[in-house]
Amino acid sequence: MFQKKLIYPNGIKVLLVTILILTVSGFSLKIKDAYLQGDNSVPNKTTPGRNYRILSPGNYSEIVKAAGEMPVYGHWKSFTEKDGLPAHKAYCVRIDGDRVLVGTSGGLGVYENGKWRTYTVKDGIAHNGILAIDVSKLTGDVWLGTLGGLTRWSAGKFDTFTQLNSGLANNVIYSVICDGKDVWAATGGGAGHYDTFTDQWEIYMERNAPMHEPWTYGVCAGDGKIWIAAWGGGVIEYNTKTKKFRDYVDPDEQMELDVFPDDGVVHDITTGVSYDDGILWVATYFGVNRYDGAHWNTYFDHDSGLLSNFNNFNRAVGSVVYFCTDKGLSTFNGKTWVSYQRSENNTGGKVLITNGPKLKNDVKTKTFSVPTSISHNFVIGVDANEDEIWVATSYGVSHGERIK
């Protein structure tokens, strides 16, 4: 048998061996660092197409610099049942002055002065499964959207509105917002509003609004308009002055793909809407949208810094929108994406920054490992202000400080 014998000059042999040794030892060191710091920067299937650049962990100044105008959050601290949260599964969170309200599967958790207090059906809440929270800026009353009705919590008293005792469309409430004197609720049986001045309800469903079916997931308000995220109906816009509806549906009518980019709502099944700073942000299970009143932009996980197309909820605060995905939290201001993920080995987190609305050859995602992270990557709710962020996940709620 002929065997081809490779013969290399000695100098070349030495060089190859040296490169091999350095490569193997360097990779080993990287793995070790990643393990010690909780880094999850090793490319994997959940985050395809990213350009990973490993920097020294926990170097927030570099992260803040990379994020530009976008707020960066860190020093995460998480809370679960053992810390006093009513239940592991947190559906929603709302910052209310010096306290934080968390809706969980086991009731309402209120975090104040470093302590958790729990309120449940025994206290008068309609149902322990609390899916949505909003606080009236006018009155300070807290409105809780639950799996069993709408509850108003006002200075310690719980009043419940159900489909049996009031004009509420349906007891399963996915979203609630206060718009001046009106309280809007998106429910499993339509959306509607309660006028707290006149004690009157108006409800909207497929019978009297351009909805595909009455199941609604989200509602938001701004500039005299209400937007409703309707299952199968895209986004329904209601003008509070003219009391007229219009709808925004997926123009390409394709369920599985987006034929033309930036042509409208990415999908007719919408899961969240949020409006602030003149921009309407739409979340779906198939990507997200930005709408400035004239133009639509669509963002997917494969063409932008969005962590996942599967979005449970979104919330806009000022110019920044927070998308709650099944793979972590993505934040975006129309220019830069900053996302937060828990590492796979659950010992730390990652901050992913994309300095551009969409990925391009010259726009890549940079990944930074950080020592702390959100408690779980399946993010369901979020709220933020100038100084902090709270994230509700399927396993606990997390608090992050804004890094400046």
């Binding site: 006018l138 009155t139 300070g140 009353d141 108003r152 006002s154 200075a155 310690g156 008293k157 489909q163 049996l164 005792n165 009031s166 004009g167 469309a169 349906n170 004197k181 049986g189 339509g190 707290t196 001045f197 006149t198 004690d199 009157q200 309800w201 108006e202 409800i203 469903m205 019978r207 009297n208």
Partner: protein, 692 residues
């Protein structure tokens, strides 16, 4: 010729006699039927002169009185400002001469007046106009109209007088008005039927009382809310709950703020009314609220073991904080409390003892200094700035009593100049508001029917069987044209309702004599007005939602196109203008503790403010009538309706106003339908059958 004339005269006399005997018999029979007794004087005037509720006779017989309700005093103490509720006026009274120097027209049914610290401006809440008038007291002119929520009642200015807190008594809110901008900044949720309000001496808290109890499960103990507003943040800070109490009309702070005192009633509506004889149906007193979130709430009675002092209304506290004065409007008295003794009692008692005191009629002598008689139905109170005089609005006397607080004697009465003549209806109104005809003055008609409406409680009148046939109090407003009365419809007239059975089952003392009964019936029958339905139907023009509900109310076919049987159509049992056919019906609402009887179909006018609903108050909202308590579509066919249709129907029902706004045929659109109804055999047969 002369003999012929005598014969003719004789014939005429005989004919008249022959006719007169049966006419007399017929009249006797009629009066016996209407009064349910056989010895009521045969006086046609009792009903036909004093009971019409409109027209020339009504105008000729009745008078418009002043009915002073609340009052305020100028900072220098020289002028009194008196709300003349019935005349919709603010009277300016010279305190020295006792003369009314100005009469300023204000809105409908004014409730409260307050005066700014500099004495230049007054604010008057117009409860039936949903606004507050700002009045320049120098020119005696209304200078601003401030829009409020529904039923503005109590008023208080913030310490800097930049904001006005208005208690919206019908919409259960507090409007925060920016006085300078003349705009309503926000509305805060208050208790049920809030009325009184007071600002703490520090200016950082606003207390708001409530009259009606909070919604609660059927036949469970009651709770009434005292709403505490943070006047700095202008948000509700706390809701203090008063267990087993209601009709908390007013509240006042001591000058140091160490306590607030609120008037209240403690009803015992969960037990049969036979307990009246045990002295245990209604008790009256006051609540003490200590400051702070953990401050105690103590309830004490002003009643005695064998005497009650019903319907406490207003409370004021002396400048030195040592005395409180309470107007007991049901017994025409002012009760003078020694607050130092109250403080001592609280300090010396354990929490358990204090809890027990809330039902103890044996300790009032420890803190009630004196009881001072007043004119009829004392309501609002105000102290002179130096605390030397107490002024009392004697509502049903049109006078202001002036009490010297040193001697605790009435020095004089200021006559406001109301009509001199006391009409029969006015006399009846005095009786209605007075507890003198009840066992030991325990309660008056007014107690369970505040403002002639209803108190929202259910009672067991114990006519037959203890604990059975529990019923929801019904309104007495605008009921002149809708007999029979009682839920079982057994009383064909107010005479029967308020006659012998009234004393047997309810007042447990001597029945009204016939003169008094005539007067009481006259007051009730002359159409006690409802507040205008400004919340749901301010103009008579229905909203789009209400129009859709109207169609459902008059519908004849289900959503599936199936014809609805006559007996199951809304308009058949509830035809306009009273929205009742005045006939008994069984709509499937009988409970296990009810006798098997049909119930009188209630009128639907103004039912928006009459919760809870159904004969026993089980339904806390109109929706619940059909979503919870209408098994088998017995209360109309509703099971085919979608949720939005039910909402539309409810909104239409809430839009219904007084009967006077509607005709028998309602509107051109539904006139054919109603004409057909009145001709229909079902309707006619039902009427004939039930009127037998």
């Amino acid at each position: 010729m002369r003999s012929k004339r005598l014969i003719y005269l004789g014939v005429v006399i005989v004919v008249i006699g022959l006719l007169g005997i049966p006419a007399h018999k017929l009249a006797r029979k009629h009066v016996n039927y209407m009064t349910a007794v056989e010895d009521h004087p045969l006086m046609c005037t009792s009903c036909h002169l004093h009971m019409p509720n409109s027209g020339l006779i009504y105008k000729a017989v009745n008078k418009t009185y002043l009915s002073p309700f609340n009052l305020a005093i100028s900072p220098d103490g020289n002028k009194l400002y008196v709300v003349a509720q019935e005349s919709s006026a603010l009277l300016v009274v010279d305190n020295q001469t006792g003369e009314v120097t100005d009469r300023i027209a204000v809105g409908k049914q004014p409730h409260t007046v307050i005066v700014s610290r500099d004495g230049k401006v007054a604010f008057v809440s117009n409860q039936w106009a949903d606004n507050v008038y700002k009045i320049d007291l120098t020119s005696a002119k209304v200078i601003d109209t401030l829009k409020t929520g529904n039923g503005p009642a109590g008023l208080v200015l913030s310490k800097d007088e930049k904001f006005l807190y208005v208690v919206d008594s019908y919409s259960n809110q507090v409007s925060v008005i920016d006085v300078k901008r003349k705009t309503e900044k926000k509305r805060l949720v208050a208790g049920n039927n809030p009325t009184g309000v007071a600002l703490s001496p520090s200016g950082d808290l606003v207390y708001v009382t409530s009259r009606r109890v909070l919604p609660r499960p059927y036949r469970t103990p009651i709770t009434t809310e005292m709403t505490v507003i943070d006047a700095v943040k202008q948000r509700v800070k706390e809701r203090k709950m008063f267990r087993d109490a209601y009709v908390m009309e007013n509240v006042a702070f001591t000058p140091t703020g160490d306590m607030a005192v609120a008037t209240l009633i403690r009803p015992k509506n969960l037990i049969p009314s036979i307990q009246v004889e045990e002295g245990f149906m209604m008790t009256h007193g006051f609540g003490i609220i200590e400051p702070g979130e953990n401050g105690k709430i103590i309830q004490l009675l002003t009643d005695e073991p064998n005497a009650y002092y019903s319907d406490p209304f207003d409370v004021v506290i002396s400048p030195n904080g040592k005395r409180a004065y309470i107007s007991s409007s049901g017994v025409d008295m002012i009760q003078v409390l020694d607050l130092d003794r109250v403080r001592k009692l609280i300090a010396e008692s354990t929490p358990e003892e204090l809890h027990n005191y809330s039902n103890n009629r044996g300790i009032s002598s420890r803190y009630v200094l004196k009881r001072i008689s007043t004119g009829a139905n004392p309501k609002g109170l105000v102290l002179s700035p130096d605390g030397k005089y107490l002024y009392v609005a004697e509502r049903l006397d049109d006078k202001i009593a002036v009490i010297n607080t040193a001697t605790l004697e009435t020095e004089k009465q200021i006559d406001l100049g109301g009509p001199r003549k006391i009409t029969v209806a006015r006399k009846g109104r005095r009786l209605f508001n007075n507890s003198g005809r009840t066992f030991q003055n325990q309660y008056g008609c007014y107690t369970c029917h505040p403002d002639a409406g209803e108190d929202g409680l259910v009672y067991n009148m114990a006519g037959v069987g203890m604990g059975r046939n529990v019923t929801n109090t019904q309104t007495l407003r605008d009921i002149g044209d809708i007999p029979p009365y009682k839920w079982n419809g057994h009383n064909q007239s107010v005479y029967k309702q308020d006659g012998m059975r009234f004393s047997t089952f309810l007042t447990r003392t001597e029945p009204f004599n016939y003169d008094d009964l005539d007067a009481l019936a006259s007051y009730i029958m002359t159409r006690i007005k409802n507040p205008p339905n400004l919340m749901y139907n301010p103009t008579g023009e229905l909203t789009a939602t209400q129009k859709r509900g109207e169609k459902i109310f008059f519908r004849t076919h289900t959503n599936c196109g199936k014809e609805i049987p006559y007996k199951s159509r809304c308009y058949v049992c509830h035809p306009p203008p009273d929205f009742t056919d005045k006939l008994p019906e069984n709509v499937g609402s009988l409970s296990e503790t009810d006798d098997s009887i049909p119930f009188d179909t209630p009128q639907l006018n103004n039912l928006y403010n009459a919760s809870p609903y159904l004969h026993d108050g089980r339904a806390l909202s109109l929706e619940e009538i059909w979503t919870k308590y209408d098994p088998g579509d017995r209360h109309g066919i509703t099971s085919d309706m979608t949720k939005d249709q039910l909402n539309d129907l409810v909104q239409f029902l809430k839009s219904l106003r007084d009967a006077q706004y509607y005709s028998k045929y309602y509107s051109d659109e539904y006139k054919p339908l109603l004409k057909e109804l009145y001709k229909n055999h079902y309707f006619q047969d039902k009427n004939q059958h039930n009127h037998k």
